[in-house]
């Protein structure tokens, strides 16, 4: 399969690993964060963590939209779905995320109309097909999915679709990276930069990581060779005492980003003054809000959300895992009361969550 097989070529993978072994100074313990949950998934899916030298430690970052969504927001969304008039639509990953009592899937089993969609535009189609229902799209994701939500809102306006609204939970990656860099309990040497987000925002916005914080960041693709090459490039920068933004994923990510998508975001959304992140707490200007012009389609206004804040179950150490302070298996609940079937914390839900990725794919704890 083109664009897949080339990047899983065993010979090249072996060669890249050899180069990494040569570059990594055995006396140094490197801590590299992969920001994006897609990378976390690939690392475990392909067993990459076990192939690189043990002194090159990969820390799993906050780039899994399901994982960073606080429980209060989930409950707000589920409360909307309690209304028998409502059809709540969400991406598949959202379906099993636990709120305080139920997950969307459990609520669906109890008879609420909750449906999985692959595109927010499908929700608009549903609204047209069910004129007597209220279709609400539970929007989550970083800059990757936000443009599609923006487009959907524009279409709703253009087509005059009244029985549709968006429960907006879109967040931004840069404030999260900054929060992590400012976090006192974390020492990082470099970043594997997010691939999908960067197709929208480009590489330029990461300059502060390299210039202000002096950390190398390499925007990376998701195949084994992509990730290994990015690790290699980070190690090379460290060896040469450089800190630059590099684009390993040039086949997809334009340096300047996707102007059309960025314009869409600007047209439809504005910054929230602050937003709660699971594990990271409240971060200023880190999330998107629907602009006044489109407020008719804002589910928060239509259904009157209450701003519920819920703390995670005390024993769950999602925050520590999210910041890379703990490994998934070091959490007291990991694999016991918290497992992919009955996730306590959100990191166990999405396949891109560090805990679920680890639970599903790693069979020996010692491999990390």
């Amino acid at each position: 399969m083109q664009y897949v097989d080339e990047f899983r070529d065993s010979r090249l993978i072996k060669k890249t690993i050899e180069t990494i072994q040569q570059l990594a100074d055995p006396t140094v313990h490197y801590r590299i964060m992969e920001v994006c949950g897609g990378h976390t998934f690939s690392i475990y899916r392909f067993g990459l963590h076990a192939l690189i030298p043990s002194n090159v430690e990969l820390i799993h970052g906050p780039g899994c939209p399901v994982c960073v969504l606080p429980m209060g927001r989930i409950d707000e969304g589920l409360r909307i779905a309690e209304d028998p008039k409502v059809i709540l639509t969400a991406f598949g990953d959202m379906m099993r995320v636990p709120g305080q009592t139920d997950s969307p899937l459990v609520l669906k089993a109890k008879g609420r109309d909750i449906r999985m969609v692959y595109s927010p535009l499908d929700s608009l189609k549903l609204a047209k097909e069910h004129p007597k229902k209220e279709v609400v799209f539970f929007a989550i994701g970083f800059e990757t999915t936000a443009p599609a939500t923006a487009l959907t809102l524009l279409k709703a306006q253009e087509w005059g679709i009244k029985n549709f609204s968006v429960f907006c939970n879109h967040v931004l990656i840069l404030p999260a990276i900054r929060a992590i860099l400012d976090s006192p309990d974390l020492r990082l040497d470099g970043f594997i930069g997010p691939g999908h987000v960067s197709t929208v925002i480009g590489c330029r916005p990461y300059a502060f990581v390299a210039q202000n914080y002096k950390k190398p960041i390499v925007i990376s693709g998701f195949e084994p060779l992509d990730i290994l090459e990015s690790i290699l490039r980070i190690l090379r920068q460290l060896k040469e005492k450089k800190s630059e933004v590099e684009n390993q994923y040039g086949r997809v990510v334009p340096w300047e980003g996707n102007r059309t998508a960025l314009k869409l975001l600007e047209r439809v959304f504005e910054l929230r003054s602050y937003f709660e992140w699971r594990g990271l707490g409240f971060i200023a200007q880190s999330a998107l809000k629907i602009k006044k012009e489109f407020s008719y389609w804002d589910a928060e206004l239509r259904f009157g959300t209450q701003g519920i804040t819920l703390t995670d179950p005390k024993a769950a150490q999602c925050g520590e895992v999210l910041k890379g302070v703990l490994k998934p298996y070091q959490c007291k609940l990991f694999g016991r009361s918290c497992n992919p079937e009955h996730p306590v914390g959100a990191l166990m839900v999405s396949s891109e969550g560090a805990c679920a990725a680890y639970f599903h794919h790693v069979y020996q704890k010692t491999e990390l």
Partner: protein, 338 residues
Amino acid sequence: MKLEQCIELAHGAGGKSSRRLIEQVILAECRNPLLEPLADAAIIEWDKTRYALTTDSYVVSPLAFPGGSIGELAVNGTVNDLAVSGAKPLVILSSWILEAGLSMEVFQREVKAMARAAKAASVIIAGGDTKVVEHGKGDGLYITTTGYGLVEPGVNLGPHRVEVGDKILLSGPIGDHGITVLLARGEIELEATLKTDSRPLWPMIEPMIRLEPSAIKWMRDPTRGGLASVLNELAHDIGFGVMIEEELIPIRQEVRGACEILGLDPLHIASEGQFVAVVDQKKAVDFQKLLNDIPGGEEARIIGVISDKPSGKVVTLSAYGGSRMVDMLVGDPLPRIC
């Protein structure tokens, strides 16, 4: 693990939840030596003859999809549960639950499909039942079929026979059925030239039994929950490790592509015309060659081996030295497929 409060779709997906439902509710109440192995078919011995008995319900949506439909699936799925139990399928009973308002044309079409599939699988439909439920209380139609077959002499299958070093043989490419049905639902705007692999398996399994029945130790068809789920059940039952080489598993480009795009693991996707067998290592290559010469078995391959570790787990190895554990399907990412 604790049971859920209500029945969820995941309980029907063939993964961990299904297993729990069966073990903690059904087995707990109905325990007996015939049920206990939780095999594809119950084997009943009477007067030195072994009979295999199995039943299966079909709730697939949509009713028809490229390459097949529910009527055909209801025959093949059930005769295949007999075939992987080492039994020649003989007789089928079929029960239909019809929703008022279902077009007569569709009903006739599905009965025809069932008759055609029965003929192809050399079984007769010896009886059945029809019930009608109110409009809105069914999904067009559901079918339950019960199959009855004769276990071939010399066949002895079960997890207790599996030993370290035995080889794992797969009859052909996996995931065709699951992806075909997923795309046929039209909810995802993807198109592929793919059709269901639904077919009777006895024509492939019978020659293997003729060659050497005792060298076949365990067999399953990877339907709901896919190859990952049946291999996990195997690993769980034998207490050994199941090592498979990812590059050796035949998967069509279309299935791989759809899985890449949708974020699914092909190992979790259902097939309706494949089986996986654990065979004696000395006979493995002979079995593979035998299958390769049968039409439809050209892509049969040895995909792995039984190892002593990691106990109870399924692990895939890649050519560059990476490894990962393959878990059972959790939840239900897919619409109903069989």
